[in-house]
Amino acid sequence: MRDTRWRYFSYLNVDYKAAQDQLNAWAREGWELVEVMGPFVRLRRIERSDTPTYFLDWSDAKDPKDYAQLLSDAGWEWVDRVSYLNIYVSKPDAHPLPIQTDPELEYQRFRKKALRSMLLSTLAVAVLLAFCWFLLSGLYDASDAFRLAQERLLPTLLSSSLAFSAVFLFFPLWCLGGAAYFLYLFRRLKGWREAVRAGLEPPEAGAGALKGWGLLRALGLLSEAVIALLLFPDALLNHFLNLGWAVGIMIGSLICIFAYDDPIRQRRGKRALLIAPLAAACILLNGPVRESFSGRIPAVPVHSDAYRVSEGRRSDTPLGSQAHWSENIELSASERLDFYFSAQAWAFPTLADWAFGPVPEELEPVPGLEGVWRRGPANEEDLPEYTGASHLDVYEYVMEMRKAQETTRGFLIRRGTTQVTVECYRVVPGTTDQEVLEPILDWLEQ
């Protein structure tokens, strides 16, 4: 096996001449490129008798096969791709002409492609910003007739998924980095245009600029890798992903392998095919792992005498946690109590205050208990009219109607950075609020 080594290799697209020079410098030292992986390249000792030459070329041919044939005839072999640029190496003993020999045409072509990719990136960012505005505007309101607390989309997402939390934290940095890159790109294109018009070589970026921008690119790639990796603990710990994701990855990878001629897509498809079973395994292990991990919200059930506990959703992220479950307590052969819980807990008080929002005006404080509010039966005018057609619609309607009954109570409890809403059904008349709340408050003290 030949000597191989890994080297750091991170350049912006506009600095591709510097990247090309680096590959050619390594070639003169006796190292040829094997593959590119993120901001790194794998090199190996050259065994051919001549020194290879590298050329980076924008990958956008309308007929890629035709272009590949022409390049092959001309003495170039494709090695790998980095971002939008294909890396070619001269065939042994071929000594081909450079792929681009018209400076003005080369500038125009790069400018057109760079600006188009900038436009697409800007559109993508605009869509994401619109989504962020939607998240932050509070337009999503999941409250129902009981109105114990408002369930907002952004806090729900931040406490549901590690990957989403990371995207939310990285997004402003990506926007800033992208804006800075656009300014740099415009400056470099301007210098290039002036050089071409004067018949001069395009100006090269300084060593400091190359390193700085290369590092910025590498950090961007690292943030993407972190988000991808976080999907695995999400699958293990949280309910954000289901088996459909693993199936989707597998289908996508098979399409990449068999439906495309592009070697990059095929390579990514093969790698994804390895990842899909791992993702499926994580999702299948979610149950045992979740049970062994307590998280911020204490373990359920609240009532030790509950005969049935249904845990709907439970998730933990560095920012927040949430859980939804129900408990049934058998009082006698014909009587039972039903509890529906929804809990949130946050890492910081500021975050908790923002996520919880104000206490709904319709709730009344429970006398003698700090941080506890109650709501009695729902008002008749707040109850929805039945408009459904399926059995699920009937079930939901019945649940809404039960909230109107006298044996129904709702509580909102806040303790520090934790909030719990409790809907209680079939409460025995005469039971005090303190009797209902005592086991819940004890559970919260854990």
Partner: protein
């Protein structure tokens, strides 16, 4: 497809069209013909040639005639022939103007 600004062809454009005057050729055949014709003076890289062929085809100066062994062949269109002849005449006038002046000054 003359450059609208100057209404001329670059040297590389001229030789690409010239290489298709006598017969259809594929991309690498064009590169080899130009290299032979100019004795290596005019070098057209594969990427540059690909971009030129795409533009010429878009401007209908050349037409795709078929594929053989995975290589696309192109031929000059009537408009391409006309453009090439115009450029040839223009270059001829330039040469004549230069000859009239410069030959007088030759020792």
């Amino acid at each position: 497809m003359a450059r609208k600004k100057l209404e001329t062809l670059t040297e590389q454009m001229y030789y690409v069209l010239l290489s298709l005057w006598a017969e259809p050729r594929h991309g690498y055949g064009i590169m080899q013909y130009v290299d032979t014709l100019t004795r290596g003076r005019v070098a057209i890289g594969a990427g540059t040639l690909y971009a030129l062929l795409a533009r010429f085809e878009e401007e209908k100066l050349i037409v795709f005639t078929g594929t053989q062994e995975g290589r696309k062949y192109y031929a000059l269109s009537a408009e391409g022939r006309h453009t090439l002849q115009e450029e040839y005449r223009r270059l001829g006038r330039q040469l004549a103007d230069g000859a009239a002046l410069l030959r007088e000054e030759e020792p």
